[in-house]
Amino acid sequence: MSTATSTSDRVADLVTSFKNNGRIVIVGGSLAGLRAAEALRDEGFNGQLTVIGDEKHEPYDRPPLSKQVLKGWVPGDHTLLPRAREVDAEWRLGVAATGLDRKTKTVRLANGDQVPYDRLLIATGVRSRPWFNKAEAGLKGLFTIRTSEDAGRLQVALAAKPKRVLIIGAGFIGSEMASVCRELGLEVTVAERAAAPLIGALGGVIARVAAEMQREAGVDLRTGVSVEKLEGDAGGHVRRAKLSDGTTLDVDVVVASLGSIRNIEWLEGAGLATGFWGVGCDAGCRAFDVNGVVTDSIFVAGDVARMPHVLYEYQFLSIEHWDNAVYQAKIAAHNMVSLEPERKPHLPLPRFWSGQFGVNIKGIGIPSFGDQLVITQGSVKDRRFAAAYGKRGRIVGAITFNHGKWLEYYEALINRSAPFPPPAPGYDAPAEMKPIPAEFPDPRTATALPTVVLTGHDPTDRAATFEPARR
């Protein structure tokens, strides 16, 4: 007994000592990094805290960039995030992390500095996928959008009243930008390789509703086509786009909205489980190494993380959603300074919103995990409805168009794996509630990347080939 007591005393001393004298480094100075730093101080961590971010700005909010900022209402540098509390930390902003040495427990920076850590949080997020043709990527008038500078530059270009804007890619951000263009009275073409906008996140049935919204708002929506070539004038400004259907468009502004790339390059050689979908971690945010062995001192949060989820057959989720960054950062911070019995799981129901064409699109769960849907409330024709998505007799996700007040009803059903089709909510039910195929595209086609991706173990979900080293 006395030995056990003294052991637990020693462990308690270690925790107290770490909380007072430990060194925690957060790599990533955006939403997840900020909320983790605040949570660490809330959790009683009084040691040395360093936040490293490659952007020079203090943490700012990105969702307004494709809406309020492009509209010209809010300046690009006016989306700074509110602070929950005072955070005593060394903010090393404007310098990227370029390497991680797990043996010496140091993070290497672009300026050559080495920052030692006892515990590390990886929250490096994603960046926008650049235009694939490097020669064309330098054209003036060609934009991507991820940072406040990106949004500020594009806003100036839109305010100059271009004759036609071309948006390549009709995901959430591309569709929101198309909406802004129409609100600004600009002619806009949207080119999408898949059969409809948002098809990866919503499935073909609901994506057709999104397509109708775009066309009714005056968007020249072209689906099933890709942009093969951009051509500039003598001054190097983009003027023409050649589409795969043989047509040519005269354009002054082109926005490549092609999804994102996870910022993992700086971890090369560190031996962590990094890849296309981010850094693998357990549900407690601890990073896996390349062999799938969980690490003790490295944690992951936000867009760059991928973690298993019990509700979705333990498949790994990569979630590029705002509140995932917030909640995972808090869980990671808690677990970084807690012993095993107090550790918490991060098992979020993914949720998102998107305001476009005057409609509030919200979602909960993972619709694309399902294969059927049923309209449970409202009217698709009126763009006011709720749709539940199911798989093998249980509800796995829900989408609402201007029906957000009901999302909590579906959240509760998803959380307890309620039957699909779900019981009628008893309000505003359509005359007929018949499950129909949700029409998600084959996930192996790389055309439509939804913002929640199941990356897990089912080989049909995302084809991955294991090639053993050849001798």
Partner: protein, 71 residues
Amino acid sequence: MRIVFDLNRCLGYAQCIPLAPDALKLSGEEAVMYDPNPDDSQRQQVLRAVASCPVQAIMVDFRDRGNGTAS
């Protein structure tokens, strides 16, 4: 001042909109658009809007908190 909406939590009751019409707008029936860094001159209106939210979806910077009715 600095605010951020948790637009997942926001249910679109739009109680906040008329209380701070320069900082908050409704797009369509329930999509809220907001100025994340409204001018300090709007502090009172914005704090009232924050207090009016039935689901407390608006976060205010700790340095900007205070009594919305104070002078």
